[in-house]
Structure formats: structure tokens, C-alpha cells
Assembly symmetry: C2
Homo-oligomer: 369 residues x 2
């Protein structure tokens, strides 16, 4: 699975793996792919520095990257407290009522909410970048629009390629105009923030729109046959996120969540604004159902919703309250039916890819070549 982009980056397979877990990121790169560590959960730059040091020691000299969540537009002089003050009391009450209904205990005294998507606040993301540029990252991805121009310039000065996610051709064009190097076309079926356009339609539209920039296809990819499909659509590689959640190297800290992921079918996700305020695909749970229900006050816009639910999500996770327990994940969750190592996932991807290429050649009447 060699494309121009995988050759440029010096990796064996044009398979990019996004993950919040350093051990998974390192294993992806060691297996011949390109591991990308998600930084959004790191509140303290020191924690990120520690984990990047760990990756450097365990990646075997292979290239890897970092994914941040950085808004293109800066909001000056607004603190987290200012944003918290914008949350209506009725919304806070709905959260507390829903938690009470399921008997979700409080966090132990002195334990802060661990789940906070504060990485998307620009000052946090910039502190992460200061750390990251001190490590040998080869790629910087941004999940929330194009990064600011000075960040793109700083990356380019260091020979770091910049990638950005797009859910439409129009969105992708903005990335190209902002000097981005790689566009990740994120289809409707993908986990996390997604648009309405499915990968089958979106990938070739983005490829055509940003030509000659390389495009990675994201959304719905978890087998070698799906890799072959995505590359048929013109992508120079694939971007997988969900698949790694149930690998043995992943560290979900929740046997109940792992069980739910392994049991879920492709019909068990929902695109909901309940987690961050923007539509994000995730496991459908009684928590997302509550936000979609008749009594719901409706999710708040980003970043208010993320702040509103941060403590609740931490409590649900800490006590593994099964009916409410969820995570961002794509429709490919239906294929995640057993825990496997990252290497096993890669072996399966490469075997499936070869099978698909054989089959396509037979259909094209080239099997005798």
C-alpha cells in the first residue's frame, strides 16, 4: 500500500492511525503505518511531553505525528470561567437530573473531572505545540478547521507537514487556500466530528477539489477491502481512528466500554451534539437519547456543551455506568468484534487489501496478467 504520500513520509503502508493512546500510536508506526497521537485530552503540557518522550523511545525511529484541536479564529481575553458563566442554569439542571436518574455518584472529594476537552482552547493548543515542536513529529493535524497561519508557517519551517480534516469540498478548498499540505476527508460514517456527506461521495470530491494535494480518506474504513475502496476513490491513504479503540495496546480504562464497543453493530452509533456541541458520531447511549428526548433543553454550541458535560462524562466513565457509557466511534464499530493487537489489525488490512486487488483484477479481466 504505497502511494506518493507514504513514500514522502517514509512509511511502508499508506495507513494513518489516529489514537489518544501513545502505545497505540507507536505500535501503528512500528507496524509500518503512520501513528498520530491525539492531543485534545492533554490539559497539562508536561503530560504531553512525557508521552511524546515515551513514543520517541518506543517508535523504533519510525515517523509519527500529532493531532490538535485548534480553532482558526482566536477569541481574545476570554477565560474558561467566562465561558462557564454562559451556560444556562436549566442546562446544568438537566445534566444533574439525568445523572440522578441513573444514580451516578459524585467524584471523590478532591478528584477533578479528568475528561475535559480543554485542548481546543487556543492557549492550551499552543502550549501543546511548543512541546510538540521539541519532538521529531513529521505531521501536525488539526481537527477543527485550518490551523492559524503562524502555526502552519512554524510547522513548515521545521519540515512538518500540516493536515486538516474536512467534511465537504468547500471546506477542503479553504484548507488548500490556507497552505495545508494534506486534507483528511472525513465522511458521515466516521467517528467524532462529521458532516453529512458519506465517504463514497466525499473522497473523490475532495480529491478533485484540492488536486494536487494528497487526500486521506476517513470514515468507514477498517478492512483491507475498505482500504482498497478508499484508494480507488483517489485517496493517497486512509485515516483510521475507531479501529484502534479495541486493540490490546489501547488503554480505555473501562472493561464495560470495551464490552460495549465489541458488542455494538454499525446501527449502534448516532451523530449527536451532546458531547461537544458540534455533530459528532459516537455510541448511541441512554445519555445521547436523553439529549435527543422530548425533555432535553437541546445541546449548547461548542465550546459550551463540552464544558457543561465534562464532569458528567467523567463520572459516567469513572463508575462505568453502562447505560450512559459511550465514546466517539464510527459506524465501523460493527466490525470491531474482538480485541486484537495493532500488528494483527495491520496484517488483516494488508491481507484484505491484496484479496481486494486480486478480485478487482479478475473483474477487470486482468487476472491473467
Amino acid at each position: 500500500m504505497q502511494t506518493e504520500l507514504s513514500t514522502t513520509l517514509g512509511v511502508e503502508h499508506a495507513v494513518f492511525g489516529f489514537t489518544p493512546f501513545p502505545a497505540v500510536a507507536a505500535a501503528i508506526s512500528r507496524a509500518g503505518g503512520f501513528g498520530v497521537l491525539g492531543a485534545v485530552r492533554y490539559t497539562a503540557p508536561d503530560d504531553l511531553a512525557r508521552d511524546l518522550d515515551w513514543i520517541d523511545a518506543h517508535v523504533g525511529g519510525r515517523p509519527y505525528g500529532l493531532d490538535v484541536v485548534m480553532p482558526a479564529r482566536k477569541v481574545e481575553g476570554v477565560s474558561e470561567a467566562d465561558v462557564e458563566a454562559m451556560i444556562p442554569p436549566g442546562h446544568r439542571q438537566f445534566v444533574q437530573d439525568t445523572l440522578a436518574k441513573y444514580g451516578v455518584p459524585d467524584l471523590p472529594a478532591g478528584e477533578a473531572a479528568g475528561w475535559r476537552i480543554t485542548g481546543w482552547m487556543e492557549q492550551v493548543a499552543r502550549a501543546q505545540l511548543d512541546v510538540a515542536f521539541g519532538h521529531p513529529i513529521r505531521l501536525l493535524a488539526n481537527a477543527l478547521g485550518s490551523p492559524p497561519p503562524d502555526v502552519v508557517a512554524r510547522a513548515h519551517d521545521r519540515g512538518v507537514l500540516v493536515a486538516a480534516l474536512a467534511g465537504s469540498a468547500r471546506h477542503a478548498r479553504k484548507h488548500k487556500d490556507a497552505g495545508i499540505d494534506i486534507v483528511v476527508a472525513q465522511g458521515y460514517e466516521a467517528g467524532g466530528h462529521t458532516g453529512e456527506i458519506a465517504s463514497m461521495v466525499l473522497t473523490p470530491e475532495v480529491v478533485e477539489e484540492v488536486h494536487p494535494l494528497p487526500v486521506l480518506a476517513a470514515g468507514g474504513i477498517g478492512s483491507g477491502e475498505q482500504v482498497c475502496a478508499a484508494l480507488s476513490l483517489g485517496a493517497q491513504g486512509v485515516w483510521l481512528g475507531s479501529m484502534w479503540l479495541t486493540t490490546t495496546e489501547a488503554d480505555l480504562h473501562s472493561p464495560a466500554l470495551t464490552r460495549k464497543l465489541l458488542a455494538a453493530t454499525s446501527s449502534d452509533t448516532v451523530r449527536s451534539r451532546a458531547l461537544t456541541g458540534k455533530p459528532a458520531r459516537q455510541l448511541r447511549t441512554e445519555w445521547t437519547d436523553a439529549w435527543d428526548g422530548a425533555d432535553s433543553p437541546g445541546p449548547l454550541p461548542m465550546p459550551l456543551q463540552g464544558l457543561l458535560v465534562a464532569e458528567a462524562v467523567s463520572r459516567i466513565q469513572r463508575y462505568e455506568v453502562e447505560p450512559l457509557l459511550g465514546t466517539p466511534v464510527g459506524q465501523i464499530v460493527g466490525r470491531m468484534t474482538a480485541e486484537r493487537s495493532v500488528q494483527e489489525v495491520f496484517d488483516d488490512l494488508t491481507r484484505g487489501f491484496e484479496r481486494a486487488v486480486d478480485r478487482i483484477n479478475r473483474i477487470a479481466g486482468r487476472s491473467d496478467r
Copy 2:
């Protein structure tokens, strides 16, 4: 583009084209694909007989099929008038108010609503079948679940293959259990009635679920690269519907609608219950927006909604009231940017398919073979 199924049916390309227009169906089969005429708009069996006669005279001896909309469960002794009586007056008022807001004129005296999805009523569909089995159809497709067992048996007695649409693996399994021969996996991005699962995920799930039955991939396919992707996912062919709407052989009877289709992007469709009561992807219009709006009484269940809006849709179409004018169409509408003949669409599909196969072989390191 030769698969086991295309060989069985004796067609050159594993491309199945669904269309309401006899001239398009015949042109698809003449171009080496497999044309499937949609019967749902035929209220009178004689009209269907006339159009099938026309196809027989113009298809050049190539095989073709028929698509009906037949409920698996029979509702005994219920007339169209009984069903009409179940529509709440508030819903009728909403339709009239919305039409009045846009100044949509009444139909001329004596002119009946031409647009009626009455084909889904079982007695109508059965009358269609009596006609169809008198013609050399090779395939009978049903868009609404498995056809009743006696219909499947009748088709098999005549050597007619039976296909049914499915939006999930569970749904596809029911078709297999009902003795269906071919499953059409209809992805989220498809036009008309669709589920939530996108083609990239749905196709391989259905292939695995109904193995060894052949699967056709539907949804998001309009280029040879997309054909290659769908076949990579294990499909034995592709099922295209939207693409033919803007061919020169199509007969939309509405220059305004053709203009809207040619101008629409992949972001300009919506999955709405406004047309039939079940979620169906269609052009997003001020009509679908009205049904999604705050004042909307909400669409009624099938078949009530279809009966409720039948006259309104006819009036909107007859007077080409542009803001309200729509049609079922998939996200692939973004690729429909110029009127072309059916043959030109096929030439484009086959060229794109060969390009994609070349590219995949290069990526797989087989370009030297």
C-alpha cells in the same frame, strides 16, 4: 466489469440502472448494463404494458428488469379512501397553507394528480406483476422489503431473479431467508428510501451476511472510480439510480428541475419523511424545509404521507414552482453537472474504472505485471 452475476444475466458490465423512464432503461441495457424500470408511478396496468412493449421493441434483445414497491405484509380490505380518511385535517391545512404561501395554482379542472405513489398498494403492484410476467423481464426488484412468498415463487417459476433492497445486514438476512436471489445494499448516501449506514460500511456487511448471494452496491456511485470502490467492497455489481435523471434520454418534463439537479452539490440533499412517510433522500427544497420547520405538524407514516402530499407534488411539478420543486436523488447529485446520453455515462464509467484499477495496481506494487 464482469462478475459472476453479470455473466449469469448475460450483460457486459455489472452496472444496474434503476430509472422511471423506459427510454433510459432500454438505453442502459443497450449500452451493456442492465436497465431496471421503476413501476411505482404506473397507476394503470395498461400504461405499464404499453411501456414494456416499447422497451421490448427498443432494447435490442438485451435483458432488463422491473422494480415494484410491494409491501411484504398484506392489509386486507382497506381501500385508498379508507386510508385517505386517516389523514388529520391539520395536516391537510398545513399542505394548503404552504402551497398558498408560494402561490401554487390549483390543477386545471378535470386534471387528476399525476404524481401518486399508488404502486405501493398491493393490489396495484399485483396488477403490475401480471403485466410484467407477460414480458421477458429477467429481474424483479422490490424496494419495500421482501416480496410476498407467492410472488417470489411465481418469479422463480419463470426464471426471473428476485432482488430486494436492504439498508442493514439484519434487513438483508431477512431477504436471504425469504428466498431472494440478489440483495441491493442501499447506503445512507443513496437517493430515495435509505437507512443510516453509509455504503462504505454497509456493502461489506451485507456481502458477509448473505454470502453466497450476490450483492449490488447502491448509494454514492456515479463514476468508474466509485464502481471500483464498490466492487472492492465485495459487491458483484453496482445499482445506480440518480445518475440517469439528467441523461438526455430521461423525461423529467421539467426544465426547472433539470436545472436544479445540474446545479445541486452533494450538500443539497436531505433525508426526509416529507415525500412518503419513510426517510427518503431527495433534493433539499423549501418544501422539505417546511416539513422540518417549527410550524410543521410532522410527516405522517407511510402510506398516509404519500397520499397527503400527492396533489401538492403534482401542482408543484406542473407549475415548476422552483423553491418547492424537488425529487428523490442521492448525494451523487453533486457529480451530475451536465446532460449526457446514457452511452456517454457508460463510457465515462468504464474509463474511470480502468483508471482506478491501474492506480490500485500501482499502489499494490503490481504495475509491472
